[in-house]
């Protein structure tokens, strides 16, 4: 038997007191910007939160590297290995792993051959890795955004020329360029006292110069579709200068793709830096995870901890950055519902 709709029920709707637009409840519903909604989704994503914590840990390690080393009582100074290694017994450390227990002076153990402290090098390697990746990402994305905006919005000849450069840079093999550039820079600057800094910045330069094209293409595509929209047309008709249209009208609408591609660019650069260091280009003096991995590979059997430490560092950092990037993309995309 069907129950007829009770008039009371209908009446109750109309009877409800209208929501006060200034109440807290109303704000919770109406006052959330798209970014806030995305952030809310992100916070509900457990993987994203864990990744963010891991990344935060690495960032803290990187920023406070010297302090952390000081606190733990380790340093990257060169020591004489003959005092710490078993010269006649295979060159393994006299104390600590792999043949002895935990050594409180060197929590991560010391390296074979050089007796360098692994923890100090790990912490400094984290700093190197994140500094280079962050700066390269910054430069590459600024370059990519500017070129993408200009190419997409101005169109015509400008678009053709800029697109040509995007294609041109895409054709140059990145690894080849890095390999060629290293000896040229060395030849030019090796007598300078600031060689180490120059080397670091040239690496950032190489990564940025060969890393901006993806971003530029993405932005250009977005701008091409956005510039035909009514609000942009209106802005142009009102006589807004191009720079204002670009920055005030277009940029806010590009926030989502930019955040996504930045969050995916960062892990790519971390991996690229480690890869180049492994190959012996890039950072050659100073600490770098890639370099430690290159040295540790042949000791995998006797002293696997030595290889695991930098490896876990790279893998954990890259994986976390990638997963967080994916989560941000999901959170920002209104079409996904998870």
């Amino acid at each position: 038997m069907s129950q007829p709709t009770a008039p009371e029920a209908l009446g109750s709707l109309t009877d409800e007191t209208p929501i006060d637009p200034n109440s807290k409840k109303a704000k919770a519903i109406t006052g959330r910007s798209p970014m806030q909604i995305a952030l809310g989704r992100l916070l509900r994503d457990k993987i994203a939160v864990i990744c963010a914590i891991v990344i935060l840990f690495f960032i803290i390690v990187a920023v406070f590297a010297p302090l952390i080393n000081k606190m733990l009582g380790v340093n990257t100074d060169t020591v004489f290995p003959s005092q710490y290694l078993d010269m006649l017994g295979g060159g393994m450390p006299l104390e600590g792993p792999p043949n002895n227990g935990f050594d409180p002076d060197h929590p991560f153990g010391i390296a074979p051959q050089t007796a360098d402290d692994n923890l100090a090098y790990w912490v400094e390697g984290c700093r190197t890795s994140l500094t280079i990746a962050a700066l390269a990402t910054l430069f590459a994305s600024v370059l990519g955004i500017v070129i993408g905006l200009l190419a997409g919005f101005l169109g015509g000849m400008v678009d053709k020329v800029l697109s040509f450069f995007i294609d041109l840079f895409l054709t140059v093999p990145f690894l080849l360029a890095a390999l060629t550039l290293a000896p040229i820079l060395n030849e030019r600057f090796n007598t300078a006292d600031s060689y180490v800094t120059i080397q670091k910045f040239s690496l950032i330069g190489v990564l940025a110069v060969f890393g901006w094209m993806g971003m530029a293409r993405l932005i250009r595509g977005e701008v091409l579709s956005l510039r035909e929209r009514e609000f942009v047309q209106a802005a142009r008709v009102l006589g807004m200068p191009t720079s204002r249209v670009l920055i005030k009208e277009l940029m806010p609408n590009l926030a989502a793709p930019i955040i996504i591609s930045v969050s995916l660019m960062l892990p790519a650069f971390v991996a690229a830096e480690a890869g180049l260091a492994f190959l012996g280009i890039g950072v050659t003096s100073g600490a770098s995870w890639g370099q430690t991995i290159a040295k540790a590979v042949k000791y995998f059997e006797q002293y696997s901890l030595y290889l695991w430490e930098p490896l876990i560092g790279v893998v954990l950092l890259v994986l976390s950055l990638n997963l967080l990037g994916d989560a941000i993309r999901d959170a920002l995309d209104p079409k996904t519902r998870r």
Binding site: V79, F80, P81, G90, G91, T114, T191, G280, V297
Partner: protein, 587 residues
């Protein structure tokens, strides 16, 4: 003779060695369990046996057949197989032992010492009174791989080719043929000086006669280089094509050669055992694999699988030394390479001997070896002078400063204070592409700085030799500390001291320049042969004591690994390489 590995460019075939583990023929009863005690055997000067004739005596238990694979880690091998072009330890050790014969050759003696014996010549050559003319009688039963006999004319032609330094810039002829043969300095060789007559080398019947510019008593040793062997006449030996597939006359011929990758040698059935006093032809096929990854080679050799049983590795990673030493026993062979590593302070910039001595005391020897991936006391041993241990005439117990110089920063500080040069600025280069070289440089810098020096280390990405040997290089001009690794070409001081310390020496990176010493070197070369060895030894000691112009940091040794089915694992003391002439595969 050079080594292609970065930082190990080296010149020299070596004589005299240690017999690593007794050097026996594989059946020493000594315990092989923990062979941790590798000691240098007693060493003597090289010996000669001019009467030895073929065939080489059979090795006990040797059997025919089998394929031997040789893994060469970190060295791309020779660029050309032309015998005239060969001056590297790796290329010469293979070709001289297996494919290319010359006037004389070395045989591994009873005690592991190399013995100079005849090869294509019936004896070790007949010099005249003052060693200015040598006559070699070529044997009539030696053959090429195509079955034709090797003639005296072909030998004379091969020797004449060695004078062409333009065509063979990497060949040893530029140093010795041009330096000693009559008119050699003015004759640019048969390819560059086309058609020009050169009459210092002549042949008559089976005799080849070479006239010398100045007395050359070591011609019989020089004859052991494959550059002093035959080449087919005329177009057949035209460089550079001949270098890709030279005609063999040894027990093996070249089946296939892929530069930097692989060299395959197969039996040469035209080789007559009776004509050759030292080579054997037990193995069916040789496969040389170049430019291998050391870690991979170590894994293969230590695995004991069927691949490794008939394999030889020409080196082993220091990280695997301990394991190899305890597991392999006699199959890990240690071989002196008759080489010395040195630091060379610029003689015109660091003029005070006390500063040079302070550098020697400030160099952290053990730490540098460890950081550089060497095994202290095994692949590197402390050095006292330039001539390597065991070289005839060397004053073995000589020490330039009373006792063995070791790392002693206090002493270095005193010496610096004495010279009034506290805080002396040292400028040097290091090869930053190699992490080992970077680690080594860190040790050196720390050592020097704790002894009161200031150090500026310039990273470079080309071979340091390219900079050290280029007088116009702008970086080189700023340096006051260089280095060189040098090996002897035969067991005589004349291949060690003049190249490093005469004022026009090719590898005199110190720029050492003392007229008195130059004169003394010339005087020794003119001495009666039997007095020369001692004179070189005395000069070696005198230079170190009075001038201390270069700092010998180490004498070098090599390690070879043999598979368990390789018969007679041993080293070739003459070249510092595996003794390819005497191997067989146990069936």
């Amino acid at each position: 003779m050079k080594r292609n590995k970065p930082l190990a460019l080296v010149a020299g075939a070596a004589l005299i060695t240690l017999a690593a583990c007794g050097g026996g023929n594989g059946d020493d009863t000594e315990g092989t369990g923990t062979g941790t005690d590798k000691k240098f055997g007693a060493q003597e000067g090289g010996t000669k046996d001019e009467t030895l004739q073929g065939p080489a005596e059979e090795l006990e238990g040797a059997t025919e057949g089998g394929t031997v694979t040789v893994y060469v880690a970190g060295d791309p091998g020779p660029n050309s197989l032309d015998p005239t072009d060969g001056w590297s330890v790796l290329g010469n050790s293979i070709q001289q032992a297996l494919t290319h014969r010359s006037l004389t050759q070395y045989k591994r003696g009873e005690d592991g010492q190399p013995v100079l014996v005849p090869d294509l010549a019936v004896d070790l050559g007949q010099p005249n009174e003052d060693y200015t003319e040598w006559t070699f009688t070529i044997r009539d039963d030696a053959t090429w791989e195509d079955g034709k006999p090797v003639t005296a004319e072909e030998v004379a032609w091969g020797i004449q080719r060695s004078l062409d330094a333009e065509t063979f810039p990497a060949g040893p002829g530029a140093e010795y043929s041009k330096g000693y043969f009559a008119g050699g300095a003015d004759y640019a060789g048969p390819y560059t000086d086309k058609g020009k007559a050169y009459d210092a080398i002549s042949f008559d019947g089976q005799d080849v006669t070479i006239k010398m510019e100045k007395p050359f008593p070591d011609m019989d040793y020089w004859g052991a280089f494959m550059a002093m062997g035959p080449a087919p006449l005329g177009k057949a030996s035209q460089p550079p094509n001949y270098g890709t597939d030279p005609l063999s006359n040894g027990p093996y011929k070249i089946e296939k050669w892929t530069p930097s990758e692989e060299l395959i040698l197969t039996k040469n059935d035209q080789w007559i055992a009776e004509s050759d006093p030292a080579r054997h032809q037990y193995v069916d096929e040789w496969i040389f694999k170049f430019d291998q990854d050391q870690a991979k080679v170590d894994q293969i050799m230590l695995s004991g699988n069927s691949d490794s049983q008939t394999a030889i590795a020409t080196s082993i990673g220091s990280d695997k030394y301990e394991q190899a030493n305890s597991e392999l026993g006699e199959r890990l062979v240690q071989q002196t390479s008759q080489c010395v590593s040195t630091l060379t302070p610029d003689y015109s910039k660091i003029t005070d001997i006390n500063v040079r001595k302070a550098l020697a005391y400030a160099y952290p020897y053990q730490d540098v070896w460890l950081a550089g991936g060497e095994v202290p006391g095994v692949t590197r041993v402390p050095a006292n002078s330039i001539m390597p241990p065991g070289m005839a005439g060397k004053v073995e117990d000589f020490q330039p400063d009373g006792e063995q110089i070791t790392y002693n920063p206090e002493k270095a500080k005193e010496l610096l204070a004495e010279a009034g040069e506290e805080g002396y600025q040292i400028t040097m280069i290091f090869y930053e592409v190699d992490p080992l070289a970077v680690a080594v440089q860190k040790q050196i810098t720390k050592g020097f700085e704790s002894a009161g020096f200031k150090v500026k280390a310039i990273p470079v990405q080309v071979s340091p030799y390219d900079i050290w040997l280029n007088p116009d290089d702008k970086v080189n001009k700023t340096l006051n500390l260089r280095g060189v690794n040098w090996c002897s070409d035969w067991p005589a001081g004349s291949t060690m001291l003049p190249p490093l310390l005469s004022s026009d020496g090719v590898y005199n990176t110190a720029g050492f320049n003392e007229e008195a010493i130059d004169q003394e070197m010339e005087d020794i070369a003119a001495m009666p042969l039997e007095d020369q060895a001692d004179a070189w030894g005395a000069l070696d000691a005198k230079i170190m004591e009075e001038y201390f112009p270069i700092i010998p940091t180490a004498f070098r040794n090599d390690l070879f690994v043999f598979g368990e089915k390789i018969g007679n694992p041993s080293g070739d003391a003459a070249l510092g390489a595996p003794n390819y002439k005497d191997f067989y595969v146990m069936q």
